[in-house]
């Protein structure tokens, strides 16, 4: 429910403030967010969910991803793939962990 409210609020905000986003940055932010949501979900099932930890994790991941993009642009290398790969791996790991916990219950 809260997630839906957040999504719609973000949608409207994005519609009002038109910010051009680079596709690399788009990909990294998107995956970092999905990763955090999946992490939060599995933590909730594990009953050790903490808002502060989740948001800190999200921002550190995001900032490191953005640094990789910057470095990549500087050296003309596609370094941001690393961030995407790791985020993707973590998403699947979290999903499988959540699934395991769910089935155990």
């Amino acid at each position: 429910m809260k997630a839906l409210i957040g999504l719609t609020a973000g949608f409207f905000l994005g519609y009002i403030f038109q910010v051009p986003v680079d596709e690399k940055i788009f990909a990294v932010i998107m995956l970092a967010a999905i990763d955090s949501i999946c992490g939060g979900f599995s933590a909730k099932l594990n009953s050790n969910f903490n808002d502060t930890i989740l948001i800190c994790g999200f921002f550190t991941n995001l900032i490191f991803g953005l640094i990789l993009i910057l470095l990549g642009n500087f050296f003309e290398l596609e370094l941001y793939y690393i961030a995407l790969l790791i985020f993707g791996l973590r998403i699947f790991k979290n999903i499988s962990a959540a699934q395991e916990l769910f089935l155990k219950k």
Partner: protein, 234 residues
């Protein structure tokens, strides 16, 4: 911050992240919306029907013209005076409404492993521009002050461009006299020359001007191999 936390309770971080996701999604969707500029099928059919109609009209008029010419027994050659012939050959300076197309090499930095040749202007690019301008009804064209005649060449000469055997380096300025709106549109047409060249970052700037000047052709015409004969029906 504390208040927001109290209102949302546990899980406020998820809400916050969702706000970011929504924000990014909507901006991305909006960008894609702007990119979607495909001409609808119906419009294409409409336009092709219009073209067919106008082509038929043109053919009818051409028939009428040749009928009238036969009637009065005037060949089209006799209609042209000396001055007109000189104008058509490109030997007189001309003035009129038209467009100025300025082009310069790309200001993008070449990425490692990419061919830097892609980012400079070639003879083909100029040829495409000239072709479009002619198709749009340009009456006279000059490139960097060199008048294009029926026998002018446009080709790469090392890093420079050779027109009428005179070399010039970028930036290039193509000037054309004609209906300035249709000339401008012919270059700026969606998916046209300008779009194709802008992919490589080549700077191209089309300006329609009320009065442009085109210099005459200053070289000479040599006809060593060709000779004039009577018209034959092939």
């Amino acid at each position: 911050m504390e208040k927001i936390r109290q209102i949302l309770g546990e899980g406020w971080s998820i809400t916050f992240i969702c706000v970011i996701v929504g924000f990014i999604l909507s901006t991305e969707l909006r960008q894609e919306e702007e990119l979607e500029t495909v001409t609808p099928e119906q419009r294409i059919e409409e336009l092709s029907a219009q073209i067919l109609k106008v082509e038929k009209e043109r053919d009818d008029l051409q028939k009428k013209l040749s009928m009238l010419q036969e009637e009065y027994d005037i060949s089209p050659e006799e209609l042209l005076t000396m001055e007109e012939l000189r104008m058509k050959a490109g030997l007189t300076a001309l003035e009129g409404s038209g467009v100025i197309v300025r082009m310069d090499d790309s200001n993008m930095t070449t990425r490692r492993g990419e061919n830097p040749n892609l980012y400079v202007i070639h003879d083909e690019d100029i040829l495409r521009i000239v072709n479009e301008l002619r198709a749009a009804g340009a009456e006279a064209i000059s490139i960097n002050g060199q008048r294009l005649t029926a026998t002018s060449e446009i080709r790469c000469a090392g890093p420079t461009l050779s027109v009428n055997n005179v070399r010039s380096a970028p930036p290039f300025e193509v000037i054309a006299i004609g209906d300035k709106n249709s000339l401008e549109n012919s270059i700026k047409m969606r998916g046209g020359v300008e779009d194709a060249l802008k992919v490589w970052g080549i700077q191209i700037d089309v300006k329609s001007v009320e009065n442009v000047y085109i210099p005459p052709y200053k070289g000479d015409f040599r006809h060593k191999f060709a000779r004039v004969v009577e018209e034959k029906n092939l």
